[in-house]
C-alpha cells in the first residue's frame, strides 16, 4: 500500500511538470495548459492507456485534471459499445465527473461564505 503513495506522488508530480513546461516553455496561460491536459487525458483513454495508469498510480492519475478527460471519454466509449453511435453523445456524463458537480456546489457555498481579499500573506 505504501508504494501506491510513492507512485501517486511521482506520477502526479510528473503530470504537473508537463503542465509547468507547457506554461513556462510553451508560454501558455493556465487555461490553455489545463485544456491541453484534458485533451491529452481523453486521447490517452481512447488508446486505452489511462486506466492502466490509474491502476498503477491511484490518485496520482485520478487527481490531476487529465482524469477529467479520461472519465468523459470512458463514459462516451462505454455507451457507444452498448448503444452504438448515439451512445457517443449520451454517455459522456454517464460516468459522472464528480469534479464538476463538486466544484459547482462548493463554488456556490464558497460564494456565500467568503469574500475576495487582496492580501499577500
Amino acid at each position: 500500500m505504501v508504494m501506491t503513495f510513492v507512485f501517486a506522488f511521482i506520477i502526479g508530480g510528473i503530470i504537473c511538470v508537463i503542465g509547468q513546461l507547457l506554461m513556462d516553455v510553451g508560454n501558455l496561460t493556465p487555461a490553455h495548459t489545463l485544456s491541453t491536459l484534458v485533451v491529452l487525458g481523453a486521447i490517452l483513454d481512447g488508446m486505452g492507456l489511462y486506466e492502466p495508469l490509474i491502476d498503477f498510480a491511484g490518485a496520482g492519475a485520478t487527481v490531476p485534471i487529465t482524469s477529467f478527460g479520461n472519465s468523459l471519454t470512458h463514459g462516451a466509449m462505454a455507451e457507444a459499445e452498448k448503444h452504438g453511435l448515439v451512445g457517443v453523445l449520451t454517455g459522456m456524463f454517464e460516468v459522472t465527473s464528480s469534479g464538476i458537480s463538486a466544484a459547482i456546489v462548493f463554488g456556490f457555498i464558497g460564494a456565500l461564505i467568503f469574500k475576495p481579499k487582496g492580501n499577500i500573506d
Binding site: 506522488f9 503542465g19 484534458v38 490518485a59 490531476p64 468523459l72 462548493f106 456556490f108
Partner: protein, 151 residues
C-alpha cells in the same frame, strides 16, 4: 530607437523564468497534492463501501472541498504563486478556478454574478474535455466498426 532594436533590448533585460526551479516546485507540490488524494482514497476505501475503482469520485469531490476552504481563506493563490502548475493541474486547481470566480462575482448577485461567471475560467476545461471525449469516442467507434480495433 527602432522596434526591432527595442525588442532586442527587451529580450536582454527580461529575466527568463527559472525553468528548473519551477519544474521542481511543480513536481513536489503536485505530487504532494496527489499523495493527499491517495490518503483520501484510502480513507474512503477503509471506512466506506468504495473500491479502488469507485473511490475516485468521492476523492475528487473531497479534494475540491479542500480547495474551497483554501481558496476562501486566500491561501490557494499563495500556493499557486509558489507551485505554478503543481497546484493548477490537480483537480484542486480546477476547483480553485471555479470557486474563486464564484466568490469574486458574489457582489453581482447569486444569479447573474455567481451563476453567470462560475465557469469563467474553468469553462474551457469543460468544453475541451467534452469535445475531445466526443471525438475520441467517435473515432474509436468508427475504428471498431471497420474492424481495426476492438473495444
Amino acid at each position: 530607437m527602432e522596434k526591432e532594436q527595442y525588442q532586442q533590448l527587451e529580450q536582454n533585460v527580461t529575466p527568463k523564468p527559472p525553468y528548473l526551479k519551477n519544474v521542481a516546485k511543480a513536481f513536489f507540490v503536485g505530487g504532494f497534492i496527489c499523495a493527499i488524494g491517495q490518503a483520501v482514497s484510502l480513507f474512503y476505501m477503509i471506512f466506506f463501501n468504495f473500491t479502488e475503482a469507485t473511490a475516485g469520485n468521492p476523492t475528487v469531490a473531497t479534494m475540491v472541498f479542500f480547495a474551497m476552504i483554501l481558496t476562501g481563506l486566500g491561501l490557494y493563490k499563495r500556493i499557486g504563486q509558489f507551485a505554478g502548475a503543481g497546484s493548477a493541474v490537480p483537480v484542486t486547481g480546477f476547483g480553485n478556478a471555479v470557486i474563486s470566480a464564484a466568490i469574486e462575482h458574489r457582489s453581482e448577485g447569486v444569479v447573474l454574478g455567481v451563476g453567470g461567471n462560475l465557469f469563467k475560467l474553468a469553462g474551457s476545461v469543460v468544453l475541451f474535455g467534452v469535445v475531445s471525449a466526443f471525438f475520441v469516442a467517435l473515432i474509436k467507434y468508427i475504428l471498431v466498426t471497420i474492424g481495426v480495433v476492438s473495444w
